[in-house]
Structures are given as C-alpha cells and as structure tokens.
C-alpha cells in the first residue's frame, strides 16, 4: 500500500480507499459525467416506475398492436399493444436492480472465497482453486439456461441466484491473489503473534486493505451482469415478458419482422444498454486507475 494522501491537520480522517477513489473519479471528467448519468438514470427509472403501473403497462391491448411512435405512445407499442416507453422505464429499473443484486451476491461469495483460499493457502487453496478453475471453464451460459428452464419455482430471486452461481469466479480469483500477497505482509503476521484469530485477521485486517480492489472489480462486474441479464432475457431465459427488462425488449427483435420494420421496439433498449454499460465501465476504469498509483491522472 503506498501512502496516498496525507491529510495534515485532520486527524479523524484517513486516506480511506473510498476517498481516494472518489477524488480520482471527480478529476476524470468522462467518468464523472458517466457517474452523474448513471445516478440520474437510476433515480429517474426508480422514481418514474413508482408512478407507472407495471400491470397496466404489460397488459395486452389488441387495438394498439405494433404502433410506431406517436403522441400517445412516445416509443410506440409492441406486438401485444404494450407501451414500449413504459416498458423501457420499468425494464431499466428491473435490469439495474438484478444487476446490483447479482453483483452484490457474487461479490460477497467471491470475496469470501478468494480471501479464505488466499489467506490459508496450501492444500486449502489448491483444492479451492481447482474447483474455481472448473467453474471457470464451464460453458456457463448453457448451464444457466438449463437451470433456468428446469428450476421448479422460477422467479426473479431464483434467477439472480442462478446468475450468481456462475459469476463469482472472476472476483474470487483476483481477491485470492491479492490475499496471497497481503497475508505475507508483516501486519498480518503481527496480528497472529498478537493472538488475533485467523478469521478476525481476514475480515478486520486484510479486508480493509483490499477494499479498493473490491470496489473496482464490482463496478466492472456490474456492467458484465447487466449484459448477462439482458443477454439471457434476449434469448428468452431471463425475465418473462410480464416482467419487462432491457433484455425482454430486445428479445422482440428475435422476430425478423420486428427487427426489420419496428426498430422503435428494440433500438432504444439496445442504445440504453450500450450507454449504460459504457458509463459503468468508464466509472470502473477510472476507479481502476485510481487504485494503480502509476496510472493516476491527478
């Protein structure tokens, strides 16, 4: 850990990981804009979707099928006469929500797994890494799809659990190699000689020293998980049409007619996903630069 910022005269604050990351983010104009955009989108979709009635939006209206954008329907309607704009708002909320949830769950699992494997090392590490390698090598999209189609009570929660089961490996591997380095540092060894238990060392001594890595990785994972959800929903193995997401809107484009002639149904969702993912990545990359002192711009 390099000494990053000295806050002289202010004894209660440390150069905490959060603070450094935040400063770097503010310095990077593109990342700051991206962050503002993300916050705005999040607030808007969560706010507006509270006013909107999801049942009303997903109700089939046979008199308004596939209408192009008009004053009544800003972005037209789909093949069930459902308002695309409303679906876009609620869909973005659902996509973001599951993205956050899966990122958080897989983050918790991955960080714990990586910390335990890296800290204890030896045989434990060996076995845990073999298991991780196996998960990493599986064609996980296929297996997720199989689970989605055979799981008995399928809902948003089980869907996010299935996604979590196959998205914790990347962060686990990163954290493990970091923990492997951290535990050799004298402060971790010192804690041992002071009678602190292993689990306490892992979670109160080592963990605070790798927070910036965790934040960066989880930000980048958020982009990946939003992509994964929309991809699965696109194929028809994510959210059902009754629970719109950015992916379900795109899945209408599997119909060649819709793809060719009714761009208003899928194109806004496609653009929105792209912009969201770019924005999340901008933030993530800026944070990554912040953790790597050599690349810091400030």
């Amino acid at each position: 850990m390099e000494i990053n910022n000295r806050i002289v005269g202010d004894q209660t604050k440390s150069p905490s990981a959060m603070l450094i990351l935040w400063r770097e983010l503010v310095r990077d104009k593109l990342a700051l804009l991206s962050l503002i955009f993300l916050v705005l989108v999040t607030v808007t979709v969560f706010g507006v979707s509270m006013i909107l009635d999801q049942k009303e939006i997903v109700r089939v209206d046979l008199f308004a099928i596939n209408e192009p954008p008009s004053d009544e329907f800003i972005l037209g309607t789909d093949y069930g006469g459902r308002d695309v704009f409303g679906q876009l708002i609620i869909g973005t909320r659902n996509s973001l929500w599951i993205g956050f949830l899966v990122t958080l769950l897989s983050g918790i699992i991955g960080v714990t797994y990586g910390l335990v494997a890296g800290y204890f090392g030896g045989h434990i590490d060996n076995v845990m890494m073999r298991i991780l390698d196996f998960f990493l090598i599986l064609p996980f999209i296929m297996i997720i799809i199989v689970f989605v189609s055979i799981v008995p009570s399928y809902n948003t929660f089980t869907f996010s659990l299935i996604m979590t089961a196959f998205s914790w490996m990347g962060i686990a591997r990163l954290i493990r190699s970091k923990a492997l380095q951290e535990k050799e540092l004298d402060y971790a060894q010192a804690s041992k000689t002071l009678g602190t238990s292993n689990f306490k060392i892992i979670f109160t001594q080592v963990l605070p020293n790798i927070t910036s890595l965790i934040i960066v990785t989880m930000t980048l994972n958020l982009a990946a998980n939003i992509g994964l959800e929309s991809g699965l929903s696109f194929l028809g193995f994510g959210f059902p049409e009754s629970t719109p997401s950015l992916g379900t809107l795109l899945s209408y484009a599997r119909n060649p007619q819709t793809l060719e002639f009714r761009w208003w149904i899928w194109a806004p969702a496609a653009v929105l996903i792209l912009v969201l993912m770019l924005a999340v990545r901008n933030v993530g990359e800026a944070l990554r630069r912040a953790t790597d002192a050599r690349q810091r711009r400030g």
């Binding site: 999209i141 296929m142 929309s230 990545r281």
Partner: protein, 320 residues
Amino acid sequence: MWKFIVRRLLITLPQIVLLSVLVFLMAQMMPGDALTGQVDPNVSPEIKEQIRERLGLNNPWYVQYSDWVTGIAQGDFGQSFRFKMPVTELLGQRLANTFWLSLVTLIFTYIIAIPLGITSGRYNDTLLDQAITGYTYLGFATPLFIFALVMVWVFGYQLGWFPTSGSVQPGLTPGSMDYVISKFKHLLLPALSMALIATVSTVQYLRSEIVDTKQKDFIITARAKGASESRVYNRHILRNSLLPIAAFFGWEITSLISGTIFIEQIFGYPGMGALFLETILLRDYSVVTALVLLFGTASILGALLSDIILSLVDPRIRIK
C-alpha cells in the same frame, strides 16, 4: 516439460468426470426420463413400469450413471423424442455448421487482432493507437448480441448485402462451387460479428505485451547493437509477443460457445447453439444433455490444449 503435460492431463481427467456427473445430475433433475414421449400414453402403468425396469430406470443413480457413461463412450447419447432419431445423428448434421462458424470466427479474430495489436503496440500513444484503443474499449463494453443485432439489421436487412438466415441457399447441390460460395456468404456476417467483439481482448493483450517488451533490456541491447527497427520488431519483439497469442484459441473456445448460442439465434444459423435453444424449448432433454456435455468437454480440452501450447512457448508457465 513432460511433467507439466502429464500433470495438466491429471487435472483434466477429473474435470471431465466432474462435468459428466454435473450433466448427469442435471439430466436427473429434468422432468421426465428416457421413456417419456417414446411410448404410447395409453399404455398401462404396469407395462410402463416393466419397461422402466428393463431399461434400468429403477436402478440406483450410480448404476444409471455408469450405464449412461458407458453409452456415451460408445457414442450413444440416447434418442431425441421430438426429432425421432438418435441424438448422435442429429448432432452430426449441426456439428459441421458450428465447426465452420467457429473456425472462420477464429481466423477473423486473429486476422483482426494481429495487425491492430502490433500497430497499437509499436506506435503507442499515437493517434492511431488511440483509435485502436478506443475500439477495444467500446468492444469490451458492447454485448455481443446487441452488436450482432445491429450488424444483421444494417448489413442484412437495410443494405441487403448478406443473407439473414440459414447456412446455405436451398436448392443447391452439395459440393458444387455455388454451394460452397453460398455457405461462405452465410458464414461471413455472423463470423465477422463475433470476431469483431471477441478480438478486442487479444488486441489489448498484444498491445500491452509489445509495449512491455519494448522497454525490456534485451530490446534496448538489440537497439544499441544497431539493429534496424524492423529487425528489432520482427526478430525480437514479435517472436516474444505473438507466440502466446497463438495459444489463446483454446481458451477462446469457452467464449466461442456462448457466442455461437447468441449468434446462431440472431442469424438463424442452424448450428449446435441454435439446436440447444430449440431443444430446450421443446423439452427434448436427451439432446440438451448431450450438447452440454459436448460443449463442456470442448471447453475443457480447449483449455488443456492452450495450456500445453503455452507451456511449450513460454517456459515460465511450467513452474506453476
């Protein structure tokens, strides 16, 4: 050297066994069994029970597992009840299509990656490099299926340059020149879409590898000895940076597989990925199991191959 390969093989074997157990358990969790859809629904439960007994479906799971594995080892994946033919036969038709799609994709991936990576690494921090880095940045952020949708919308539907579904134009005789050309035309857009996205990680790897190597002492020495710039690049830098790239294709297989599922769906291309989606919707689980097992094994073997090639190329890997 040999030690590394043997050790790597010793890891691979349990991986395949574990995969087969996983797939078998998934198959057990799937509703219905080999009998479903094969017998007349009007057959009495007693007779059904007799058939189940005869087929070994009442045996304990480990006996069933070993029967299942023995069958697979002999190339018997069971029957597809929707297509009414052995799974092996069904797969054979689709396998060729997916194989060609993957191969062409891999070729495109390298064709794009190598010049871009070299340019970007050699002339780093120039305008050209920034353009290429910008492309990789976008490529990382873009989900493959959205990119493919846009590609098929622009080049297939709006411009009409490429066919938008199928693997070959119907009515052509297999083996004729027209047939081959038509096949290639059907392949081109999906493969290109996949390659343009898949290639970005290779471009980035190559770039950073070259930028790193450029500053190494042995390169500075070569320069100091008066070697020309092109000699430095061709003899020293590229030799060190390109070989690892060659080993990547094995690891690409895992991402290629998820890629083909999306790509074949979007381009209506009759390959294994499309078959997977079709059969899982039809609940034709014997086909699904076979596909997961095949794709899983392909990923495992791909990684094995890459590790071995890389260990030949880069001795550091062996001391793991």
